[in-house]
Amino acid sequence: MSRLLLKNREAQDGINGHLKQNYAQQGRYDEDANQEGILWLVSSGDLPEVVRKLREDSSLAMDRLADLSAYDNVDGVDGAGRFVFFIHLYSSKFHSRMRIKCLIAEGEEVPTLTGIWPMANWLERECFDMFGIRFRGHPDMRRILMDERFEGHPLRKEYGLEARQQFSDSLPIRMVTENEVSK
């Protein structure tokens, strides 16, 4: 094993140990085959608080939101909950990554992360577009990829793979007015 890899593993072990020690009260802590950590939150309401804590923690410094999405858990493989909502975090200081996952029910609202990372805006819109998960406090909860007239959420398992909805014209580009932005 190369020296660098060994060093990285040791660093990752240290991070995992720190996470286990200090973040156990919010949820269960797992490691995957690559030693990267997964923090399973009990309640999605804790999300902004935990994320802020991870970012400000000087021994983690999870300062970058790498990804935010969800997957359909309709078969219940990962527990009781319709969707598994997840975010990927990256620390540009320690070059380490971790995931936060949370089981959420159908129709449950997840608190937005736009106050912490402005880039969460579009990722949350995509998550809403594909799965129908709404985000509490999001400044502009509209579809982002599919047409505004599209019905349903295509990455849900019950949505047909080949169920195309075609529209004869494209909507004109328009600016969103202040009234349309839901507070």
Binding site: L145, M146, D147, P154, Y159, G160, L161, E162, A163, R164, Q165, Q166, F167, S168, D169, S170
Partner: protein, 212 residues
Amino acid sequence: MSKDGSSAVFPLTLEYAVRWARKNSLWPMPYGTSCCGIELMSTLSSTYDLARFGAEVVRFSPRQADLLLVAGTITTKMGPVLRQVYDQMCEPKWVIAMGACSSSGGIFNTYSVLQGIDEIMPVDIYVPGCPPIPEGLIYAIMRLQDTIEKGLPRPKAERLTPEQARNAMSYREVITDSIFKDPSKSSLEESLAQSAAPEAAKTKSSHSTKEG
């Protein structure tokens, strides 16, 4: 007038001269949405040099173009945009569907991808491949030039039969033969007409009468 200054007469009709001029000055509008666009750029560059066929003046405004080159996956959301680009082009205009995605949706049989641009506009030439090699695109443009020179009618906006689509995977078999050969003498045409749906056979016979 000849080069040495003496007068010269070319015995041809004006109609033929117009067709000849159109054939050799196709101005393409590139609509590259994915990897086919890279092959399209390669075709236009110096190695393959599409200028040899008079189609190098790429126009990024549909109003100045007469050949729409659709190279790549078209999503259902992009469909109306592409149709608008097509509508903005002045007559006469032609369309080449380059690659599997724009011809049939390719591997993307999903909720978001248009299954071939022939669902929204008539297509003159389909280029098979994923992506097609530049020679394939050049071949398609040469065949399009042949149809322009002969003044053949544009195809209607209807889909290929499965049989025709299968045979289209060899460049020479369908693209050339079905258009340019005498249908009565082609064994391929006969086999196509027998196996294809009745309405496809009807359109084929109407094409052949126009040719004759």
